[in-house]
Subunit: 100 residues, 2 copies
DNA sequence: ACGTTATATAAGTAAATACTTATGTAAAAG
DNA sequence: CTTTTACATAAGTATTTACTTATATAACGT
């Protein structure tokens, strides 16, 4: 698949846009995403994989946790989408389901 | 649906990106799109409708023909996608299936 | 008016996508 | 070593999307 199309498909979903909004202010761990989206943990992992495969986000492992962040180098299209998103601060270490 | 998500969904498809590439140099009529994409005419009309509903393209009726063009006022995201596309000149009045 | 041409809409089907539950893996804690 | 925690992967299901064929509409030519 063409990279542009892959990136657009990765971006064209409300849940994944929310994930990106959460990451606008820095790294977020998977467990926090689960709380924010209200879907199952596997579903979140699958969404994150789509964003990662498209080169939009990067991951960092720390112990059993995994932190995701927006990639530094972005194509103009992805950059424009991220700019359009309002940063969501309500997704950092809520701590109900995890203790990252 | 959120406008950003609607626009991204409209853009996240190879056929629709091709339609936009065809329109980069100006108006194109539906019959020419049919030749370019190699799908049925109703399928093309449905794709064009998605782009129109998202505010990405405009239509102009002339007799029995209908011409589509890229909208003048575009959001930064749509603008970035269009810029990324290489204009496709091979879709202007081929004339095999229509005579526009 | 009638038939033809260009396009749109409707209805049905096939394929892609996004979830679910169940299971696997890897690191930390006991 | 065993259990727990955090996440990923697998498999199955439900929803969405993109096509198909059939039909409707609207303008033009005769």
């Amino acid at each position: 698949m063409d990279l542009l199309e892959q990136q657009l498909k990765a971006l064209a979903d409300k849940n994944r846009l929310t994930l990106l909004a959460c990451m606008k202010n820095g790294e977020v761990c998977v467990c926090d995403f689960v709380e924010v989206l209200g879907i199952s943990q596997p579903a979140v992992s699958q969404q994150l994989k789509k964003l990662k495969d498209a080169g939009i986000i990067l991951e960092r492992k720390k112990g059993t946790w995994k932190y995701y962040r927006i990639a530094e180098q972005l194509s103009p299209v992805v950059e424009a989408v991220i700019n359009q998103l309002e940063a969501d601060d309500g997704c950092r270490c809520g701590g109900n389901t995890c203790s990252c």
